[in-house]
Symmetry: C2
Subunit: 749 residues, 2 copies
């Protein structure tokens, strides 16, 4: 755990430079606008620890799979979010000496991420090796109003000398991923151009052996403006051209006490959005526009866009600055990562803040992110997340075929970019099939929240049928139990592998079958023509398949312990030595201290999937049942998944255990800011941030949607004076205000 | 399956060149003498498919582990048997054109491995690109009589031209492993020397980051002799020196119809056997000796050594040439791989025939190879195999500590060179712990066969106690079952991973505990002083530990199906859909056609471990029990482990099912010759060859050892006229002869 970030309601502030934590700070201070994003790297060269990262949404590379021991069925590649053109770079030389903060004496330093308007500012006073003292002020943002543009205002002021500065702003596509499987660079140069103070660079991802994987072309452009004080300068541009790189060098005289400003206007275009051959023309026009708008107007537009977002999103907590900062940090990054305007995109586990975990789409999207966007964005945003899976249905059917399933059964991938599986660890890739359940549940969740039942006929039903067909083939009849069983799965609790009858997976399978039958009935009765179309397209044998599903729903096996009155996580769970987490305090985190086999045969739980099931389908269970299961599983849960504590907060709130709920809440809200898991340097835990939001709104706020109505049952944690949050429900923005005296729910606007 | 190898009682014959199978033939025709070995590569350059391989026993490299997803507890490296100096190489130019069989017209070609005397001969008539026709006859062997030496007789005869030959015999250490994890070469040059027609090269394995891993120095020397017809030549030597390479070039005039012979005498010394700084001096002396003995005398000594081996080893089968060839092939390669003279060595899964599977020691050694060497070699050979594990006890204790065990519990590695684990696949490395049982059982097996009960006090008991301590910690008390259970294991049937209560593993654990208690009792009563020593050295708490072990023996859980009267492979086995292998004919081999999860949740068995347990401990079970279990498991067994069919042969013989026994036998005896599994090109299945031997001797021959007596109960497979085999039992060589009229057992000599 780290605590060098200042507590502040709206800002993430590093006061004084912490080079030992620089990669953490770079993650925390990442910027993005849904279309592109970047880590909080310095503009000028930095020779200390840094993970350079610039990302363009939807652009990736199929990095050839590398495993120790190949298992039949592994995918060919692991899709990587790739480090793209560095458009923030500005090399600086002062009197012939390169400016590099790793080599300067730092006299003062502040780096601030302002979450209110999504800007990153840096102010520092340094003394260079040659004794020159310099003040550096930089500010930049990825525009929310013009989402293919970013702007930097970079100012230097000599404090104790006159002299020369050589500034080299550039676009650099000769970048690599730290975690590439074969040490390969993913880009090749297509074109570049430099004229006046404008430059353009076009790069394309390398051709892969897999023809289902597109090549992506990304073009970046920059246009530069200089000021000395208020006066615009027009220095001479000297182009610098290298492989996959273009820049300009400017020689500028420096006068002690006078500020020299370089403004870098940049655009990034992707072939996903514009034909590659038109990129440079579009970029020129785009740059021309924003250049003439200027930095201040651009900043104004950007700030306004953020104000709009906060209006419908903000959660205000009084009396607990750390909690306030934590929740805003989470909301801020979620908004930066996904705006929901493009159904081809999804929410990567690290967003635009790092490379790790490659592909962008996990079950996190449906289980954790969807509820956030349902409540905080326009309806089409959540809908696009669903349509994304709809569009991947054929690939999910092919994926299931690879594993031996047939007749239109669909298994969605564990991790994907374009619908193809790109995870390769058999116990997860092939066995963590509960993801299919979450994808089905998301359809219910969306319709339950929005009332948009037409979604079923339009897009939802074929996905539900594909998934139900999978479940129906994945179970088998056990002669021994005279029940259907589901063998060889890994549940959300990934600290068990290859178990039989994971209660959660069976529950979600059974639920999917029921919901699919209901949905078929609904579409059959409300849109008979559409139903006829679907039935024929899917070659759906209503008699046979529906009967089989009914039978499975009736006869599916669920492990339980009648004596304790609890559901059992899986077959054989009670053969374990049952202990509580408190008994192994000094062994934690067990995923760093124990070998894998020891974790597997212990009773300890990464995230409690029985409780996850009771959270999803709470109406199927009584509060007493929930209480017994919570009391059984919570003490064995180590919460070593960032997705775990939020569900416990919600359930603890339901059980009126506010102290436990709060304990769980703090674990999740400041996970990244305080670097709880020692891995913030790799990037932020974007998807679990949505869980934090849920912990407040569904947990403390007690929001539930039933029969088309939203309700709240707020509770106030002991340390808070009050809190308020806003949610959109069926077109109406509502504000819930909770104080020590009670709560109000207000319709806004 | 391939059938290009001619059936022959004593030879492996490739008639006509099969370049498409060249790597298979190279594997089949490998030579070795326990100290070194090599694949059947051509001496001259070959640009077609070839896997170059020369190996020196006990020399390896710790290749840094490479996995897709790291699991806590994985070892740092995977130990590789490494490709060492190529000492067979002779480059040949004829009239300026390089001799390369891939570029010649092959007029006739024969390659013969003579198993009677361990020589590899090649005779061919080729037409080169320039029209020159050439006869090439080469013969070579790794001397069994002088085990650091090898000799080559390489003769060329121009058939339709006079001209010039340029011969370049060399020693080349600039070689690599095809399967290196990081594309690295493992050797660096230390020294080289060339003088007259003698050359020496010393190479050393690179320094690794792990200080428990030694660096190995290998020195090779060669001395050359030339003849034209019977006349010795003394052509001028021109040294050729390159990095890690030394050779000589000789220009020789060729006369049509006249044979030119190059004899290459070579030695290979390892720092494991001689101090590196003395290598060149020893090599010179050694070369001087064998050079003066000459090729014919060397061949005579070598042939005599093989005669001795066959005298005590041979199995003669009449009426079935394919079976005869198969069994001799297996015996031959086992003898080439391990001679038992050095307790630091062991039996690699590929011996000296390929690189695959890295490290040399698997549980195959104890479960399959030990019985072969017990019956066919001097007692010390088998004893050395046991002492090897004794010497690794401390490492096994450390290995167990890494996984969280304590108080002297020992877990032997899955794969090792020096006692350190070097396998990295969690479901095997950490969970396939039954290997510990086989290592304990080997001690019993050895003592039962030899009567050498002193071995217990000397070496055996501490190993048994270490293993028993492991079992005692590895089980846990299940409150649900009121029994001890063993969770999270992988049995010998590797088509199940991470199961609970694998019957075989539990059986071997229980047996180990019993046998350890008996052994303690024996040593306590017969060597009380030694017992006191052991007890104190191991800090053995007799009261506590023995009581605990008794309790586990009493209360260990064994899954079974009372109704069918069969033991169950593991908990939950009966939840599977039970099918027979016949129903999935077109899906086989399932390890190539099914994804891993499908294999895991199917009932199909790689090797039936319940039957393996009943084979090891046959006296604990009635024939009726065996029959029921055999009939339950055999039809579900796909035998996709080369270690599987031999056990089924033995059990089928016991049940009097000779047809089934024979069906199983042919699967194993010609596995490599006929390339059943499409993988002979990687090298031979050396350890399962011992299983084939067992199938004849313990299966058809019915050999059993009980109470210090050996007995036989021979049966004759329908297609055989007769067979005979020889075994050594407590100093007495016995010959068993089985004909249609009955059998005889004769004491020889």
């Amino acid at each position: 755990m780290k605590d060098y970030i200042k507590h502040d309601e709206w800002c993430i502030i590093e006061e004084g430079f912490h080079p030992e934590h620089n990669e953490i700070t770079e993650s925390l201070m990442s910027l993005g606008n849904g279309r592109m994003g970047q880590r909080g790297n310095f503009e000028e060269k930095y020779s200390g620890h840094t993970l350079q990262g610039n990302y363009v949404a939807g652009v990736w590379f199929p990095d050839k799979t590398r495993v120790g021991w190949w298992k039949n069925g592994y995918p060919n590649y692991f899709a990587k979010v790739i480090n793209a053109v560095n458009w923030v770079g500005i090399d600086v030389q002062i009197n012939g000496v390169e400016l590099d903060l790793a080599k300067c004496e730092i006299i003062s330093f502040t780096r601030i991420l302002n979450m209110k308007n999504g800007t990153l500012r840096r102010l520092c006073h340094v003394k260079m090796e040659n004794g020159n003292e310099l003040e550096l002020v930089s500010e930049r943002f990825c525009s929310m109003a013009h989402d293919e543009a970013g702007v930097i205002n970079y100012a230097i002021k000599p404090l104790n000398f006159n002299g020369d500065a050589k500034l080299t702003p550039y676009l650099d596509g000769d970048v690599s991923n730290r975690d590439s499987n074969h040490g390969e660079k993913f880009w090749e140069e297509m074109d570049k151009e430099a004229k006046g103070s404008e430059a353009y660079l076009q790069v394309k991802t390398k051709k892969s052996p897999w023809d289902t994987v597109p090549q992506f072309t990304v073009s970046s452009g920059m246009r530069l403006k200089f000021y000395q004080g208020k006066k615009e300068l027009h220095p001479i541009s000297l182009p610098v051209k290298k492989e996959k790189y273009i820049g300009f060098t400017y020689d500028l005289p420096l006068v002690s006490g006078q500020q020299t400003i370089l403004q870098k206007f940049a655009v990034n275009l992707s072939s996903e959005n514009h034909p590659a051959e038109e990129h440079f023309a579009i970029a020129k026009e785009y740059l021309n526009k924003i250049y003439h708008l200027g930095f201040e107007v651009m900043l104004g537009d950007h700030t306004k866009a953020w104000e709009e977002k906060w209006k419908s999103n903000d959660i205000v907590i009084k009396g607990d600055v750390a909690a306030q900062q934590g929740i805003r940090f989470n909301i801020f990054h979620l908004q930066q990562t996904y705006t929901g305007e493009d159904a081809r995109l999804n929410i990567g586990p690290k967003g635009f803040t790092g490379e790790k975990y490659g592909g962008v789409t996990y079950w996190d999207t449906e289980a954790y992110c969807l509820p956030f966007y349902l409540s905080t964005a326009e309806q089409n945003v959540a809908r696009n997340l669903l349509v994304y899976r709809h569009n991947h249905l054929q690939k999910a059917i092919e994926n299931a075929q690879l594993l031996g399933f047939k007749d239109g059964a669909a298994l969605y991938p564990m991790v994907t970019m374009n619908g193809e599986e790109c995870h390769n660890e058999w116990e997860i890739t092939f066995e963590e099939i509960h993801r299919n359940g979450a994808i089905a549940y998301a359809i219910f969740d969306y319709i339950n929240y929005t009332g948009d039942k037409n979604y079923l006929a339009e897009y939802g039903l074929d996905v539900l049928i594909g998934i139900s067909r999978f479940w129906a083939q994945r179970v088998n009849w056990s002669e021994a139990k005279c029940k259907y069983v589901m063998l060889g799965v890994t549940g959300p609790n990934e600290y068990e592998n290859n178990v039989n009858n994971n209660w959660y997976t069976n529950l979600m399978a059974q639920w999917t079958l029921k919901y699919t039958l209901e949905s078929i009935e609904y579409v059959r009765s409300t849109s008979p023509e559409r139903w006829a179309e679907i039935k024929s397209a899917l070659q759906f044998n209503a008699d046979l398949e529906e009967d089989k599903w009914e039978h499975i729903i009736e006869e599916l096996y669920f492990p339980e312990d009648a004596e304790r009155g609890v559901f059992l996580q899986q077959d054989g769970f009670l053969d374990k030595e049952l202990m509580e987490v408190d008994e192994i305090r000094e062994h934690r985190p067990i995923n760093q201290k124990w070998s894998w086999d020891r974790i597997l045969r212990s009773c300890f739980i990464k995230q409690a999937d029985v409780l996850q099931g009771m959270y999803f389908l709470e109406d199927q269970f009584s509060t007493e049942q929930l209480e017994r299961n919570f009391d059984f599983y919570e003490p064995m849960t180590v919460h070593e998944s960032s997705l775990s504590p939020c569900v416990h907060t919600i359930l603890a709130c339901k059980l009126g255990r506010l102290e436990k709920a709060y304990e769980m809440y703090v674990r999740t809200a400041r996970l990244d800011i305080d670097d709880y898991n020692n891995d913030t340097e790799d990037g932020l835990h974007i998807t679990s941030m949505a869980g934090t939001w849920m912990a407040v709104v569904k947990g403390f706020g007690g929001m539930r949607i039933k029969n088309g109505e939203v309700s709240f049952a707020p509770q106030l944690p002991a340390g808070w004076d009050s809190y308020s949050f806003r949610v959109k429900f069926r077109g109406q923005l509502k504000e819930v205000n909770v104080t020590k005296d009670g709560h109000t729910v207000k319709d806004l606007k």
